[in-house]
């Protein structure tokens, strides 16, 4: 887990905002994309799915054998293996 200190528009420091990788997002919860750590073609493909910073993603369900996981991304349902989802840093929305 990573902790990030962010300075918001009013200049206030918001501490302890929790960032996780998307594969750790529990099914049924939402999160906002912060950044991608993937490189090369994988990064391209993820960007093409609309996974740019600020995009809301909902984890829908895991496949019967636990992987991949289906996500709601910009109106489409996309399945990602945990390897790819691990490269997407998100901020869970509560």
């Amino acid at each position: 887990m990573k902790y990030l200190a962010k300075i918001d528009a009013k200049g206030l420091v918001k501490m302890h905002e929790l960032l996780i990788s998307l594969n750790r997002l529990a099914p049924g919860s939402m999160a906002k994309v912060v950044q991608l750590s993937a490189e090369g073609p994988t990064r391209r493909r993820l960007l093409d799915l609309g996974l740019v910073a600020g995009t809301l993603v909902e984890s829908l369900r895991k496949s019967p054998s636990g992987d991949p996981t289906a996500y709601q991304i910009r109106g489409a349902v996309i399945a990602l293996r945990s390897e790819e989802a691990a490269k997407i840093l998100v901020e869970p929305a509560y």
């Binding site: 609309g50 369900r61 109106g75 399945a79 990602l80 790819e84």
Partner: protein, 709 residues
């Protein structure tokens, strides 16, 4: 299962896609769009051709072409591969991009999905960067209505600066408006002001700087800003495309490369993200002004269905139950019509024979034409037509509904463990219809290594040419033993065969990943499209016309001459025995070891042109007369096999070898075309054959050792 007229065409490499042959005065219209937006349905509706359609992304793997006429003008429609983007992540995207960019179609129609417009706008915006000659087609309007999604198409047209047409291609709605819009754009009757995405000062400045350095010739041939942006993104494929399509000399390419890397240094690697983010932002803004959701939970029903069909508890049982149900309906439904057909063919055979006798024709002529050709032909029809006419519509129904991607979703983890691609499940489903079509469908897998694995292992899935053999043997040997539950047991045996072929596919994929095709899985994304209500009437017609009759036609064209050849082989004697018997005697030792006999192995070898032939050849070989007996029912077939020393073990080993042996001629040819490699084609021949021999020897040996047979 692309069994249409175009399937042969789609097997050819895409080289000639960029330079379509044109009639004088004909205008080229490119059809672009995200996968699974109904692009092929629109293509079919406009051209009257029958490209395969179905509810899963990636069915259209190559550019089909068709013609239509509107207002006395001729249009050539080119169906580009479905892509989410033109930023060249894959071969398909490169093809689509190069066609729009370098072939300069008069109009590019971008087909979008009304239920998922925002995501589709990404591609629309990218196309608009290359050319303004665009018509946006918003398809699946009825699905959007059903989901209570309201779209303001005039506003969309205003925001994009090009004509927008709403369609419902499945019902033919909006197609004349689409043709009219294409016509108006093609003949410059429309004032276009295509929307261009603004990328922020840093990127725009860099692009302008780079574009200023382009040579004069380049400036005329491509959109400079677009090219500059691609170079800034570090897209290396664009340079080779420039060289290939515009014949740009090497020094100029080098200069471009140098120039772009110099400008790129200022922005670092952030250009790529900046481009995509700007596109996504713009799409979001446009969608927010055009799309209104009456019901925020638009996908509620889809989610509920998915919660069951892909759940931990029910995912696998439902999958097996559905497949088993399809088999059960096929087997129990096919019996009666099969017998009717047999009786009818038998009746006309007697008439034919009488005719030959009256005409005083020699025995050999009657033998070759009636006992050889006619009987083989009618047997193939009587046995194959009814199950296929039931199996294909049922399978098409599942395909149209959108269930197949769920199967891929459920099974992906197994493929990942085998270091293969989850979409291999989809290519296997295509293989059920025809392995050659399955091999072509492997193009939906981006990574070359995983595509080869899927190609080589596709033959482990029994195609419909092998289904009749599996169905017949399950029915007469396994179903018979079960008594009252005959068709249920036969369906179970069939289901078992499919599961065996699935596990062998995984095992062989894993072995290949560790040996000939070493490597780890590449990245994987799979779209689970919204469920769509299948049009039952349409499904019936399409699957019977396009699939059943096509496959049957192929079987018949192969079976007819083969029937002749086999009749001669069974009747021409050398040293007191027929050619068939000599061949069988030679194969006997290996065949025995495998739990088969020489005639069975011979039938598989002679059945190389088409798997449909294996059973007819076998029947002919068993009959000392050299032609088929009066086989009117499967029971007669059982008696014939029993008389030739078959046991349950023979049936099981024959079924196993039917699942695991060399691909048919057509499939091997397709593999050669798709992989462009003799080595891989040979491997595709060797791997399943060796697998089959080994499995049969192990099963037969074990059974004999345990005294079971």
């Amino acid at each position: 299962m692309d069994f249409t007229v175009n399937s042969t065409e789609s097997g050819a490499p895409n080289k000639d896609l960029l330079q379509p042959e044109l009639f004088p005065g004909e205008l080229v219209v490119a059809l672009a769009g995200n996968p699974n937006t109904g692009k092929s349905t629109i293509f079919n509706a406009l051209t009257g051709l029958r490209q395969h359609t179905g509810n899963w992304p990636g069915k259209t793997v190559s550019g089909a072409r068709g013609r239509y006429m509107h207002r006395q003008k001729n249009f050539l429609l080119v169906d580009l591969p479905g892509t989410y983007s033109l930023l060249a992540n894959s071969a398909e995207e490169e093809i689509a991009r190069d066609f729009i960019c370098f072939s300069r179609p008069a109009v590019t129609v971008v087909v979008t999905d009304a239920t998922c417009l925002e995501r589709n706008l990404n591609l629309v915006l990218q196309v608009l960067e290359i050319t303004g000659q665009v018509v946006v087609c918003v398809n699946l309007m009825d699905e959007a209505r059903r989901k209570k999604i309201h779209l303001d198409l005039p506003a969309l047209s205003q925001l994009l600066g090009v004509p927008v047409v709403g369609t419902n291609a499945r019902d033919g709605q909006g197609l004349s408006e689409l043709k009219e819009a294409v016509y108006r754009v093609a003949f410059n009757l429309e004032s276009l002001h295509p929307a261009r995405v603004k990328y922020g000062p840093g990127l725009e400045q860099a692009a302008a700087e780079l574009a200023a350095g382009f040579g004069a010739s380049l400036k005329e041939q491509v959109n400079q800003r677009w090219l500059a942006l691609r170079l800034l993104e570090g897209d290396s494929t664009i340079l080779s495309s420039l060289q290939r399509h515009l014949g740009l000399p090497h020094p100029q390419i080098e200069a471009l490369l140098e120039l772009s890397s110099k400008v790129r240094q200022k922005g670092g690697s952030t250009f790529q993200d900046a481009v995509v983010s700007a596109l996504v932002d713009r799409a979001e803004k446009i969608a927010s002004r055009v799309v209104r959701l009456e019901n925020m939970e638009q996908n509620r029903l889809d989610r509920k269905i998915d919660n069951v069909v892909t759940s931990r508890k029910w995912g696998f049982p439902i999958m097996l139950a559905l497949l088993g149900l399809v088999f059960w309906i096929t087997i129990s439904g096919a019996n009666y019509p099969s017998e009717l057909l047999s009786a009818a063919f038998h009746f006309s055979e007697e008439k034919l024979t009488a005719l030959f006798v009256r005409a005083g024709s020699p025995d050999w002529l009657h033998g070759a034409l009636v006992s050889g050709l006619y009987k083989t032909l009618t047997w193939v029809i009587a046995v194959m037509l009814p199950p296929m006419a039931i199996f294909f519509p049922l399978f098409t129904l599942l395909e149209d509904l959108g269930y197949l991607p769920r199967v891929a979703f459920n099974l992906d983890n197994s493929f990942k463990k085998a270091r293969a691609h989850g979409k291999q499940a989809l290519t296997m489903c295509m293989g059920f219809g025809c392995n050659a079509a399955g091999v072509i469908s492997c193009r939906i897998i981006d990574s070359p290594r995983e595509r080869l694995i899927a190609t080589i292992t596709n033959n482990f899935v029994p195609c419909n040419g092998r289904f009749p053999l599996l169905i017949a043997l399950s029915t007469i040997f396994i179903g018979k033993a079960a008594g009252a539950l005959a068709s249920l047991a036969a369906a179970g045996a069939l289901l078992g065969s499919i599961m065996i072929s699935f596990f062998i596919t995984l095992l062989v994929s894993r072995v290949l990943s560790a040996t000939a095709l070493k490597g780890l899985p590449s990245s994987f994304t799979l779209e689970l499209p919204p469920y769509r209500m299948p049009r039952v009437g349409r499904v019936l017609m399409r699957s019977i016309m396009d699939r059943t009759l096509f496959v049957l036609g192929r079987a018949v064209t192969v079976a007819a001459p083969a029937g002749l050849v086999i009749w001669f082989m069974a009747n021409v004697t050398v040293d007191g025995a027929s050619l068939l018997k000599h061949g069988a005697a030679f194969l006997e030792p290996l065949a025995r070891l495998m739990g088969l006999d020489g005639f069975i192995l011979m039938a598989f070898i002679l059945g190389f042109p088409a798997n449909e032939l294996v059973i007819p050849i076998l029947i002919m070989s068993y009959l000392s007369t050299g032609s088929m007996l009066e086989l009117e029912s499967l029971e007669d077939l059982r008696q014939l096999f029993l008389a030739n020393g078959w046991t349950w073990l023979t049936a099981v080993c024959t079924m196993l070898f039917a699942l695991n042996h060399f691909p048919c001629g057509t499939t091997l040819l397709t593999i050669r075309q798709e992989t462009n490699s003799f080595k891989m084609t040979f491997l595709s021949f060797l791997v399943p054959t060796l697998t089959g021999i080994i499995i049969c020897i192990i099963i037969a040996g074990t059974a004999r050792l345990l005294g079971l047979a």
